[in-house]
C-alpha cells in the first residue's frame, strides 16, 4: 500500500535507532558503517535546508508548468473553467509524485512533499468547485466526505503528516455534518456525538500505534492522536458550542447543559496533563498544556473577572512559580522524569532557533525611543510559537 520501499523504511528505522547509540557513544562509527552497509537505505533524503529549497523550486516548476498548460488549453472553450481541469492538473502532480518516488527514490526530499501538497490542493479545490456549482451552502457534507476519502488515500499511500491531519479533520467534519443533517435536533446532541467520535478516533489511533503492521504510519498516528484530542476538547468547549449554535440555528443566550460544558472546558486540559504525566505520554501532555490557554481564553470571554494586565501578570507569575517548583523538584530525576535535555541531538539546536524567536518577539520593545505611539509593554505577547524564525 505504501509507496515507499518497505525494506528501506525498516532499515531506515534501524539506522536511526543505532545512530542514537552512536551519538551516546555506545556504538562506534565503524560498527555503524558496517550496519549501514548490511541494511542499506537508498532513499534520497537530504537535510532540512535542501528539502526546503527543493520544495520551493518544485512549487515554482509546477506552477509555471500548470500555467503553461492552462494557457495552451485556454483556446478550447469551457475546458479550463471546469472542475475537471483541476482534477487533470491534480492527476498530473500525482503521476509526477509516483514517478519521483518509484524511479528516483525520493523520500521526504522536498520534491515529493511539494508534489503531494500540490496534488491535494488541486483535488480539494476541484471538489469544492464541482460541488458549490449547483447548490450553495449545503455541500459541506459531501465535500468533507470527498476530502476525507482523498486524504485517507494520500495518507495510506505516502504516510504524510499533513495529509493525515487533513484526513482526521475532514473525517470529524463529515461526521458532524452528517449528524446534524440526519438526526432531527442534531445540533443540540452534536457535542456528545463529537466527543464520542473523537474519543473513538483517539482510542483507535492509540491501539494501532502499538501494532507492528502500522509502524510505517507512526507519524500519521501521532498526528491523528493530537488532532482527535484537540477535537475531543473542542466538542465540549463552551465557546465553540455557543458560537456554533448561534451561527447555525440563530439561537443566542446560554447553552443547555451549560454546567456540563463548563466543567469540561475547565477540567479537560488538566485531565489531559494528569494522564500525560501518569502515562508519560508526550502528546497528551503537550496538547493539555496548549489547551489550558484555550480554557483560559474561553473563561475570559464570558467572565471579565480581572483586567487584562492583572490577569497577564498573575498568569506569568503562576507559570514561573510552577516551573521553578518543577525544576527544583526534579533536580534529581524522580518517578522517571527529568528536566535535563534528551540525549538526541536535533537539528534545530544547531540553528539556534531560540535566539531567533527571541529576536522576533522582543525586538519590537527596544524600538521605544524612536516610535511615536510608544507602549511600555515588553513586546507583543501574541506569539509564543516559532513564527517562521529561520
Amino acid at each position: 500500500m505504501i509507496a515507499y520501499n518497505k525494506t528501506w523504511l525498516a532499515n531506515l528505522r534501524l539506522q536511526d535507532e543505532v545512530k542514537k547509540d552512536v551519538q551516546q557513544g555506545n556504538v562506534s562509527d565503524a560498527e555503524f558503517n558496517g550496519i549501514a552497509q548490511k541494511y542499506p537505505v537508498s532513499f534520497y533524503t537530504p537535510n532540512l535546508f535542501v528539502r526546503i529549497g527543493l520544495f520551493i523550486l518544485t512549487c515554482v516548476i509546477m506552477s509555471f508548468g500548470d500555467g503553461l498548460l492552462t494557457l495552451m488549453a485556454a483556446s478550447s472553450r469551457g475546458l479550463v473553467e471546469s472542475a475537471f481541469w483541476l482534477f487533470f492538473l491534480g492527476a498530473l502532480a500525482y503521476a509526477g509524485l509516483e514517478i519521483m518516488i518509484n524511479a528516483s527514490h525520493h523520500y521526504r526530499s522536498g520534491v515529493d512533499d511539494a508534489l503531494l501538497f500540490i496534488c491535494g490542493c488541486f483535488f480539494t479545490t476541484g471538489f469544492a468547485v464541482l460541488l458549490s456549482n449547483n447548490n450553495y451552502g449545503t455541500h459541506y457534507l459531501s465535500l468533507s466526505g470527498l476530502i476525507f476519502l482523498l486524504t485517507l488515500w494520500l495518507s495510506i499511500r505516502f504516510a504524510d503528516m499533513l495529509a493525515a491531519t487533513t484526513c482526521c479533520v475532514a473525517f470529524l467534519a463529515f461526521i458532524f455534518f452528517a449528524w446534524i443533517k440526519i438526526v432531527p435536533a442534531g445540533l443540540s446532541t452534536a457535542p456528545f456525538i463529537m466527543m464520542l467520535v473523537s474519543g473513538g478516533v483517539y482510542w483507535v489511533a492509540s491501539v494501532y500505534s502499538s501494532r507492528k503492521e502500522f509502524i510505517n504510519y507512526d507519524n500519521c498516528l501521532i498526528v491523528a492522536k493530537a488532532v482527535s484530542l484537540t477535537a475531543l476538547y473542542a466538542s465540549g468547549n463552551y465557546y465553540i458550542i455557543q458560537t456554533l449554535s448561534s451561527e447555525m440555528m440563530g439561537k443566542t443566550g446560554p447553552v443547555p447543559f451549560g454546567a456540563i460544558f463548563w466543567i469540561w472546558t475547565i477540567l479537560m486540559p488538566f485531565a489531559y496533563i494528569g494522564f500525560g504525566i501518569k502515562r508519560k505520554d508526550v502528546i497528551l501532555l503537550r496538547v493539555g498544556l496548549l489547551l489550558i490557554t484555550a480554557a483560559a481564553l474561553t473563561f475570559r470571554t464570558y467572565y471579565h473577572v480581572l483586567p487584562v494586565d492583572v490577569a497577564l501578570t498573575i498568569a506569568g507569575t503562576v507559570i514561573l512559580t510552577v516551573v521553578y517548583a518543577v525544576v527544583k523538584y526534579l533536580k534529581t530525576p524522580k518517578h522517571g522524569f527529568t528536566y535535563t535535555e534528551p540525549d538526541e541531538v536535533n537539528l534545530m539546536d544547531h540553528l539556534k532557533v531560540e535566539s531567533l524567536i527571541v529576536a522576533e518577539t522582543f525586538s519590537h520593545a527596544p524600538a521605544a525611543p524612536t516610535d511615536e505611539g510608544v507602549k511600555f509593554g515588553g513586546g507583543d505577547f501574541g506569539g509564543g510559537g516559532s513564527s517562521g524564525g529561520f
Partner: protein, 327 residues
C-alpha cells in the same frame, strides 16, 4: 524490542561484545522521560506574560502610581536580575560559555528587556536625550552588545543587532523587513546595504579573530538577508539606468563570497540562501531580457524558462548538497 535489535546485530557480527554490553547497560537504566522542552517553553511564555502584563499594568495606572515609582520598580527588577547574573555567571572566555543553569538565560533576558524599557521610559517621559534619538538608541545598543558578549547570550545578540539596525534607522527582523519597508527611498537602500555588509564583516571578524566564534551564525544570518534584499532593491530602484549593472555585480560578488564561505563551514542553510537569492537575481535578468525582445510569445517563453531553470536549480541543489557533504 531494542534489546532484540542489538542481539540480532551482535549475532550477525556487526556489533562488538563491548558495544553490546554498553547498550545492555543503557537499557537496564530506567528510561527517563524528559520534560526539558515543556519547561523551556513554559519559562519563555511565563517571562513574556509577566513582562507584558507588568508593562500594561503600569501603562494603564500611570496616573495613580507616578513615574518615579514606576522607574524605580523597573530599575529594581533590572538591577536585581543583573545582580543575579553577575553572581552566578561562569568566568568569561573568548569561546563559548555555557549558562550555569536553565534559569540564567531567562533572567538575563528579563534584565536586558527591563533595561531597554527603563531607557525608553526615561526618554519618553523626561526626554533625557532630548531630540537626540541617535544617542537614545546608541546607548542601549552598546549595552546590549556588551551583555551579549559578556554573558554569551545569543538571544541578546539578536536583540543587539536589531538595535543596531534601529540606530541606523531601519528595523532588521526578517518579518518586519519584508512587511514594513518600502524600498523606494535611496537612503534606506544604502543604509540597508551598509548594515548588511557590516553584519557580514562582523561575522567574519568573529571567525577570523576567534572571538566568540559561535556568534558568527547570528551575524551572517541577518547580514545575508539584509544585504541581498538591499542589493535586489537597489537593482530594481535603478532598473532603467546603467547603475543597475553595478547592483547586479554586487549580488554576484556576494553570492560568490557566501558560496565559498558556506562550503568552508559546511553550512547547508547559507548554501540554500545563496542559491535562492541568486535564482531570484538570475530570473529577473532573464525576464528583463525576454521582455526586451518584445515578441508575441513572451509569456510562454517565461513559463518555459521557469520550468527549465527550476529543474536545473533542483539538480544544482542536489549536486551541491552532495559536494558539500563530501567536502
Amino acid at each position: 524490542m531494542n534489546n532484540n535489535l542489538y542481539s540480532n546485530l551482535h549475532a550477525e557480527g556487526l556489533v562488538s561484545d563491548e558495544s553490546l554490553a554498553k547498550t545492555r547497560l543503557k537499557e537496564e537504566k530506567p528510561l527517563l522521560f524528559s520534560v526539558h522542552w515543556e519547561i523551556k517553553t513554559l519559562l519563555y511564555v511565563g517571562v513574556l506574560l509577566l513582562t507584558g502584563g507588568l508593562g500594561l499594568l503600569i501603562y494603564e495606572n500611570i496616573d495613580t502610581i507616578g513615574h518615579e515609582f514606576v522607574l524605580m520598580l523597573i530599575a529594581a527588577i533590572c538591577l536585581g536580575c543583573f545582580y543575579y547574573c553577575f553572581k552566578n555567571k561562569l568566568p568569561f572566555s573568548k569561546n563559548r560559555v555555557l549558562s550555569p543553569n536553565s534559569f540564567f538565560d531567562y533572567i538575563l533576558l528579563l534584565a536586558s528587556t527591563s533595561l531597554l524599557i527603563f531607557v525608553g521610559y526615561l526618554q519618553f517621559e523626561y526626554k533625557v536625550f532630548g531630540t537626540n534619538y541617535g544617542m537614545a538608541t546608541l546607548i542601549p545598543m552598546l549595552a546590549l552588545f556588551f551583555i551579549a558578549y559578556y554573558f554569551d547570550h545569543l538571544g541578546i545578540l539578536s536583540m543587539a543587532i536589531a538595535n543596531l539596525a534601529l540606530w541606523m534607522g531601519v528595523s532588521v527582523t526578517p518579518k518586519q523587513l519584508l512587511l514594513n519597508s518600502d524600498f523606494n527611498s535611496e537612503t534606506i537602500i544604502y543604509t540597508y546595504l551598509l548594515l548588511g555588509i557590516l553584519l557580514i564583516a562582523g561575522g567574519y571578524a568573529a571567525q577570523r579573530f576567534n572571538y566568540k566564534k559561535h556568534f558568527k551564525f547570528s551575524y551572517l544570518h541577518y547580514g545575508i538577508h539584509v544585504a541581498y534584499i538591499a542589493l535586489l532593491a537597489g537593482y530594481f530602484h535603478y532598473y532603467d539606468s546603467a547603475i543597475a549593472a553595478a547592483w547586479m555585480l554586487g549580488i554576484l560578488t556576494l553570492s560568490f563570497l557566501m558560496y565559498h564561505d558556506a562550503f568552508k563551514n559546511k553550512s547547508f542553510y547559507f548554501l540554500l540562501l545563496v542559491i535562492l537569492y541568486s535564482y531570484i537575481a538570475l530570473s529577473s535578468l532573464v525576464i528583463r531580457f525576454l521582455l526586451s525582445i518584445n515578441d508575441g510569445v513572451m509569456i510562454e517563453l517565461i513559463a518555459f524558462y521557469f520550468i527549465g531553470s527550476g529543474i536545473g536549480f533542483i539538480f544544482l541543489l542536489i549536486n551541491l548538497n552532495k559536494k558539500l557533504k563530501a567536502a
